[in-house]
């Protein structure tokens, strides 16, 4: 069977069983007069694609890509959340051919959709943590006392004694902690300076390494040259002072003296 035949056969089979295709039916339904259903389908489709993107973030290796995808997810979420009120208004409208229960179900659907949109992970919660690691001054993390005070006062009146004691201890600890915090801040500053200096020293040393290597080579060459020269000089000096030449010099000197004495005697 050729490819063309396969294609035509597949097409005819698809056409025959189209009525069982749920997604396609939903699409056909939607293209009717029902504005709510249309908008709902559009929003749901976008939400699905956003969730897919959020999942792809987990597998993305490139940090820049992660950031970009998160930004896009955030934008889409904001846009979808804007559409929700419109959807709610449409849900209230009566459409012919729809029962009352379905109308109520629609508003439930809308609120469920809103929750789903809000719950899409977009990286905002995780992004805050690495930035607040430095300096205790940007204290975004340690703020749990504001709600607590409120709930204590309103609900638990019978245990005031205990809560007073707890409250006192808490205040004391907080004061001590602030002193500790200042101390730790000073230490952190000092450590930062140390770290910077250490890094600079490291780089300086790395800079010096090739220079020292060069010096090392040159000194080695110079010392080996010197050694060669010394050896040659020693040979030359030895040759000059060799004993044979010395004896010859003495004998010749004696000869000359002898000849001079002889001449002196003859001439006297």
């Amino acid at each position: 069977m050729s490819v063309i035949d396969l294609i035509t056969r597949v097409d005819s089979i698809c056409r025959k069983f189209d009525k069982y295709d749920v997604d396609k039916q939903a699409e056909l339904n939607v293209s009717g007069d029902d504005a709510f259903a249309r908008l709902y389908a559009v929003v749901e489709a976008e939400l699905d694609s956003t969730i897919e993107k959020a999942e792809s973030v987990a597998s993305a290796k490139n940090r820049a890509a992660v950031v970009a995808i998160n930004a896009e997810i955030r934008r889409t979420k904001a846009r979808l959340l804007d559409e929700i009120p419109k959807l709610q208004r449409l849900a209230m409208k009566k459409v012919r051919g729809l029962s009352r229960e379905e109308l109520e179900a629609r508003s439930d659907l809308v609120s469920a959709l809103k929750d789903r949109i809000a719950s899409v992970p977009d990286g905002t919660t995780t992004a805050a943590q690495p930035s607040s690691n430095g300096g205790a001054s940007a204290s975004t993390g340690i703020k749990f006392n504001s709600n607590y005070d409120g709930s204590f006062d309103s609900d638990y009146f019978q245990n005031t004694e205990e809560t007073d004691r707890f409250r006192q201890e808490y205040e004391m600890r907080k004061m001590k902690q602030s002193a500790q915090d200042e101390g730790l801040d000073v230490i952190a500053e000092g450590l930062d300076t140390l770290k910077d200096m250490a890094h600079d020293m490291n780089e300086e040393l790395e800079r010096q390494v090739p220079l020292v290597d060069e010096i090392d080579e040159k000194v080695d060459k110079a010392s080996s040259d010197l050694r060669n020269t010394n050896v040659r000089l020693k040979d030359t000096v030895n040759q000059l002072r060799s004993s044979r030449n010395f004896c010859i010099d003495i004998i010749l000197l004696c000869l000359v003296l002898g000849i001079a004495a002889y001449l002196y005697n003859v001439l006297k």
């Binding site: 690495p130 300096g135 940007a138 930062d192 300076t193 890094h199």
Partner: protein, 297 residues
């Protein structure tokens, strides 16, 4: 041999001039005479004559095919020109010296000579100084001695900042970053990137600063480093118009460890700029016409 420098110079000149009786110049003796004369002039503080004598001695050494000594004499001549205040001469003489060093095949002293020249003229001829620094850096980079170039780049940045050419300063800092990257000097590299971001912010160019930050964040180590975090905090504080946050970031140790020229910006000028900025209706598009009209570096 008389020790009177004038006589020495006259004698040396005679030795080098070709006449009917002399068919080839005696450069060896002439150079000797010139050197002695130059030293004598220098001791007597006659800088003009000493400079001339050094130049002639250098030429003599060149004739004797010893470029190293020639370069050394040129440098002495240039130092004397500095005393005299002939800035153009200084630049020319140092350039000549650097060329001679390159002839010897020694890039390091060549770039040192250009660096000295740039330092000497940066107050009076800043554009010439910029050119000299750039040439010095390229000499070193060709010879793969990038680490020596760091100081030169920093000096170049300082000159640009003084001339208020902030894009050039930032470009110089980015080149520093590149050189540091080649030598794996990550601390210097990140400090250079942070300084570049600060310079862009000082020029009120938030977009460029953000672009710079994004470019530098391609290097994952920068993103997670102190300098990277500091940069992101600074940019976000600046675009929100948050003066307190900027002051706090500027006083953090990361910024104070940067080059003096750049860190003094952040401390003094950014908060003030931002204060001027926040009076405008749109605080995130700070386009002030003349932010540097009051109080200057």
């Amino acid at each position: 041999m008389s020790s009177d420098p004038d006589k020495l110079v006259a004698k040396a000149d005679k030795l080098t001039k070709l006449t009917l009786t002399r068919w080839s110049a005696d450069w060896r003796n002439a150079t000797l005479n010139y050197e002695q004369a130059a030293n004598a002039y220098r001791v007597a503080k006659k800088y003009e004559k000493a400079k001339d004598a050094f130049e002639k001695a250098s030429k003599g050494q060149e004739m004797l095919t010893s470029p190293w000594d020639a370069a050394k004499h040129m440098e002495s001549a240039a130092a004397l020109a500095k005393e005299l205040g002939n800035w153009n001469d200084v630049a020319d003489l140092y350039r000549r010296a650097s060329e001679l060093y390159v002839e010897c095949g020694r890039a390091q002293p060549a770039s040192d000579a250009l660096g000295k020249a740039a330092r000497a003229v940066e107050d009076h001829l800043p554009d010439v100084a910029v050119q000299l620094y750039t040439d010095a850096c390229s000499l070193l980079e060709e010879d793969d001695k990038d680490q020596m170039a760091f100081d030169l780049y920093r000096a170049l940045t300082a000159v640009h900042i003084k001339l208020e050419k902030y894009t050039d300063a930032a470009a110089a800092l980015l080149r520093l970053g590149l050189a540091a990257d080649k030598c794996n000097a990550s601390n210097s590299q990140f400090k250079a990137y942070l300084s570049a971001i600060i310079v862009y912010l000082y020029a009120n160019d938030v977009k460029a600063a953000e672009k710079c930050y994004n470019d530098c964040s391609q290097i994952p180590a920068f993103l997670g480093s102190d300098q990277g975090r500091c940069g992101s905090r600074l940019i976000s504080a600046y675009s929100e118009g948050n003066v307190e946050e900027i002051k706090r970031v500027a006083q953090s140790s990361t910024i104070t460890h940067l080059d003096h020229a750049v860190s003094s910006f952040t401390l003094l000028f950014l908060p003030r700029l931002l204060a001027e900025c926040s009076f405008l209706p749109s605080a995130d598009k700070c386009t002030i016409a003349s932010p540097h009209s009051d109080g200057l570096v």
